[in-house]
């Protein structure tokens, strides 16, 4: 109960009252999906279009008051594909050009550009969605756009459980440290592993009881 971190932060949500915060989650979700489809469908050679998309994304992020630092931090998820994209011009086949003394594949270069541009644009837009919408409401929006109930119910539990587990492991860390635990050495690894295992057990037990409490008060989703 000394859990102090704001749980919704973990999901990238920043409370606020910008126009984007006020927009219905369902509208935002549909818009995001549409945007992603349009970006992916745009041929990679139509560079001016990409410039326009980028301007649009920056405006949306600015209206939503998302901090540049947050965007950069989330972009790190792209790193594995950055590496893959950088390799493409080298390994791809077909006609080659010389760039700064390297012989690079033309189609590989286009491929790298397409991957980076498309992935970055949709990523920026998804940040705008999650930064302005409470995680629970995003889940509800999925239900509204027709995701089957079995899936949204799993999603509801998952979002709740992640918060539970984080709170749980925080409490357990405090309990450990209150009794003199110092996290280094081989012995501490064993203890941490056991603690992680039992924290899932606890979260499950807690989740089970919470679910029963919900059911006790008339909830009938998820079964």
């Amino acid at each position: 109960m000394t859990a102090v971190a704001d749980p919704s932060n973990r999901w990238g949500y920043h409370p606020g009252s910008t126009p984007l915060h006020r927009l219905s989650p369902r509208t935002k979700l549909v818009a995001l999906l549409l945007f992603a489809v349009i970006v992916v469908a745009t041929p990679r050679e139509w560079i001016p279009f990409y410039a326009a998309y980028a301007v649009f994304a920056v405006i949306v992020l600015a209206v939503a008051r998302v901090r540049a630092g947050d965007v950069l931090r989330r972009l790190t998820i792209e790193i594995p594909f950055l590496i893959f994209a950088l390799l493409l011009p080298i390994v791809a086949t077909g006609p080659r050009v010389d760039v700064l003394g390297f012989s690079l594949s033309v189609s590989g270069l286009w491929g790298a550009w397409a991957i980076l541009a498309k992935a970055t644009l949709t990523l920026a837009m998804s940040i705008a969605l999650v930064a302005t919408t409470e995680p629970g409401r995003v889940v509800l929006a999925f239900g509204q756009i027709g995701l089957p109930r079995a899936l949204t119910s799993i999603m509801t539990f998952m979002v709740r459980y992640l918060d539970l587990i984080v709170a749980e492991s925080h409490r357990m860390r405090i309990a450990r440290e209150s009794r003199g635990f110092d996290a280094h050495g081989v012995r501490s690894w064993g203890i941490l592993a056991r603690a992680v295992a039992s924290s899932f057990g606890r979260a499950h037990a807690r989740g089970e009881r919470v679910h029963l409490a919900m059911v006790s008060r008339g909830y009938d989703g998820g079964s």
Binding site: M1, E134, G136, R209, V210, L212, V215, R217, G218, Y219
Partner: protein, 250 residues
């Protein structure tokens, strides 16, 4: 409308094999108030969890107003039986206290102003009228206990089951709760280790031990029987005025 409870030959063992209830028989008349007493681990919570089908009997039956609890009837039963869990963290799961208190009634069709009225009445009854917008995570344990009680008070059920309602409550809240409960016309079953509270609130008590009901009678008679109490790990707390029991007893 208060409902009666009828438990017959109820047995239950946890999945790991621990047998906990071993033939419990108990009849509670509509509108009655009964305290369930017994030492730690006697199976009181396990028994309460059967009253709204959170646990299902391995043998024997539990009937609410004549309807046996089974997969088929459990949804209806839950509409009628409100359960306050022993651990308030098991009870509270919504982002705010007010949403949590509204959860039950809104699942059962209450909306709009009526729902709001219920929520604010329940919050006022437990003294949390100004904390409705707080996250339950940010309440003290006693405040969470109060909120957990409010989630049931908002529901207007026929049977109210409370598992250790006074633990972590401050003395004033403890007294006010007994007033609130006495004002309900539901059937009330209270598990408690607080024997003076049982005496104050419930004319009748049962003692659970070894998986069975080992004593059933007027609370004042049970509490006055020191030998019976001792045998089942119970005793009046230090400082409690025994003459009160004697007076009620005689």
């Amino acid at each position: 409308m208060p409902a009666g409870i009828s438990i017959q030959g109820l047995r239950y063992a946890y999945p790991d094999g621990t047998p906990v209830l071993d033939g419990v028989d108990l009849e509670v008349a509509p509108g009655e108030r009964v305290a369930v007493l017994g030492r730690n681990g006697a199976g009181k919570t396990t028994l309460m969890l059967h009253l709204n089908g959170v646990l299902m009997a391995s043998a024997g039956s539990v009937r609410i107003d004549g309807t046996e609890i089974s997969r088929a009837t459990v949804r209806d039963i839950r509409r009628r039986v409100g359960l306050v869990f022993q651990d308030p963290d098991d009870q509270l799961f919504m982002p705010t206290v007010a949403e949590d208190v509204a959860f039950g009634p809104s699942n059962f069709g209450s909306t709009g102003e009526e729902l709001e009225a219920r929520v604010s009445a329940a919050l006022t009854a437990v003294g949390l009228e100004d904390r409705g917008a707080s996250s339950p995570q940010r309440l003290s344990l006693g405040q969470r206990r109060r909120a957990a009680i409010a989630t049931i008070l908002s529901m207007d059920v026929d049977v109210v089951v409370l598992d250790e309602p006074t633990s972590n409550l401050d003395p004033t809240a403890r007294r006010e709760l007994s007033g609130t409960l006495a004002g309900l016309d539901s059937t009330i079953v209270v598990v408690t280790h607080d024997l003076p509270y049982a005496l104050e609130l419930c004319p009748r008590s049962v003692i659970l031990d070894g998986g069975r009901v080992v004593a059933d009678g007027a609370t004042r008679d049970l509490l006055a029987d020191a030998e019976l109490m001792r045998r089942h790990g119970l005793e009046l707390p230090w400082g409690f005025d025994p003459s009160i029991v004697d007076e009620l007893h005689s």
